[in-house]
Symmetry: C2
Subunit: 145 residues, 2 copies
Amino acid sequence: MTNQRRIILEEIRKVASHPTADEIFRTVRKRLPKISLATVYRNLEILSEFGMIRKLDLAGTQKRFDGYTENHYHVRCVECGRVDDVCLEPDPVIEQAAQGVTDYDVLSHRLEFLGVCAECKKKTEREFGRSKPPKNERTLSDAPN
Amino acid sequence: MTNQRRIILEEIRKVASHPTADEIFRTVRKRLPKISLATVYRNLEILSEFGMIRKLDLAGTQKRFDGYTENHYHVRCVECGRVDDVCLEPDPVIEQAAQGVTDYDVLSHRLEFLGVCAECKKKTEREFGRSKPPKNERTLSDAPN
DNA sequence: ATTGATATTGATAATCATTATCAAGTGAGG
DNA sequence: CCTCACTTGATAATGATTATCAATATCAAT
């Protein structure tokens, strides 16, 4: 457990958000100005291998990391990309349901909600003077994929 | 509707799999040897904008495209990355449940199962002489994220 | 404390998927 | 047949991540 690794872990556990490697790099650099981005990536990988943090393999281009390692679902803002926890009990039977209609061995599932975060809702209000666009103006397909 | 675009669409609709841009490129190139990878990317984008195909924004590094545009869930093989459809009715109430525990406006959800495909199961059988490893040997965390 | 075996670091190059750029080519409507 | 906006192919650029490697740090055993 090197100094760098310890500080990376500390900073991830400090925040409730689900920072990207780059965000973690920028935060850690305040305490260790000489740290390399590669060191951050390496230690994020190692820490998640050891189960001390969780690597979130969500949709989108950048991976995100979570200091909170319990099972939980997430919601992603379609406007700004922000990711938050959704405190729902993971569905215990849905994997069996899936097992019934596929020839895969089903091991787990990953559920991600898409929506608009509070921040971006406010932005929409400022622009259009209402809190929620009517259904027929929603831009996002309402389909899972 | 150019020749290239038409053929890309034809080839996507021809397969039941969920090919990546690169796989589509390699397939289409058999019929149009001079086509550029950029043309494939461009037309995949355009075709999905017009709703003629669906761009799947699943976990993992590469985007996948689906000629079948109805809502459905997917299962991904953790060994080889293959993606297949899961013919389950999308859960109509889970978004309301999520809406109850978040301050996001929940618009949709995306559910992805993880498992081992039939092919890779066979490979495991050949290696270990049994069809299914016991639970305590499963390598994948059984947690959604 | 010193040593030595091993792991880790910082800097940077390489990779991979995707997007952007741009000159040249194409095709639908007049 | 002309035109003009759209599209193509080739290639460069981008952005996130991973690999490489010499220099440095760690830690258990002296």
